[in-house]
């Protein structure tokens, strides 16, 4: 257990509104990730971070941005939410050994 919390756990928002999801970790892990999980697609990487202020795009990054100003926090922002961004979002971390990813409990986001 890497002490990963996500907030909020559930959110319903309207199309066109900005949304920010927060991931907080207590293990001082260097790497942090945001995934979305949709039926039939498994987990798909949105963005990841390999250090403070060091981030890169994943396979489904369009419409999302991230920021990491502190080791423990990784924020995911949907600038203008769309219905296609309705999903369950998971944050994960990996330590320097890279052998395991630790996942948060997820955020269920519904865009109406």
């Amino acid at each position: 257990d890497a002490g990963i919390t996500q907030s909020p756990r559930h959110k319903v928002t309207e199309t066109g509104t900005p949304v920010t999801l927060r991931c907080h970790q207590t293990e001082n892990h260097r790497y942090m990730y945001w995934y979305r999980q949709d039926p039939g697609h498994g987990l798909r990487l949105i963005h990841y971070s390999y250090g403070v202020k060091d981030t890169d795009k994943g396979e489904v990054s369009d419409g999302y941005s991230v920021s990491r100003s502190k080791t423990e926090d990784f924020l995911l922002t949907l600038e203008s939410a769309t219905s296609s961004q309705t999903s369950v979002y998971f944050c994960a971390t990996t330590g320097t050994g890279g052998d395991e990813q630790y996942f948060g409990p997820g955020t269920r986001l519904t865009v109406t």
């Binding site: 990487l45 390999y50 990996t94 409990p105």
Partner: protein, 113 residues
């Protein structure tokens, strides 16, 4: 683009039966992980395999990494209702130069009592 395909997608079996889940790719991975995910929770790591041909056992679960490190299998012996869940494989994308992972589409297992 690296892809990991899992089969079957869904599996419903009776308690006590054996089953195998497959994770296949045309790409080589430096390591491969298996996770189990229960409803409303994040995935939890079961095992990591690193060496081609490696076999690891976790109680009634046996994991194998293909010789060419392109595929893996998970075999469950005498399945129990507690094995019910979503099983995910994930390969480490070494080409990215950082710890980045590609996930398979998942196998949803239901074990009936």
């Amino acid at each position: 683009t690296q892809l990991l395909e899992q089969s079957p997608q869904f599996l419903s079996i009776q308690e006590g039966e054996n089953l195998t889940v497959y994770c296949n790719s045309s790409s080589v991975f430096s390591s491969l992980q298996w996770y189990r995910q229960e409803p409303g929770e994040g995935p939890v790591l079961l095992v990591t395999v690193v060496t081609g041909g490696e076999v690891k056992k976790l109680k009634r679960l046996t994991f194998q990494f293909g010789d060419a490190r392109k595929d893996s299998s998970l075999h469950i012996t005498a399945a129990q209702p507690g094995d019910t869940g979503l099983y995910l494989c994930a390969g480490e994308d070494k080409a990215s130069g950082t710890y980045k992972y590609i996930f398979g589409t998942g196998t949803r297992l239901k074990v009936l009592a």
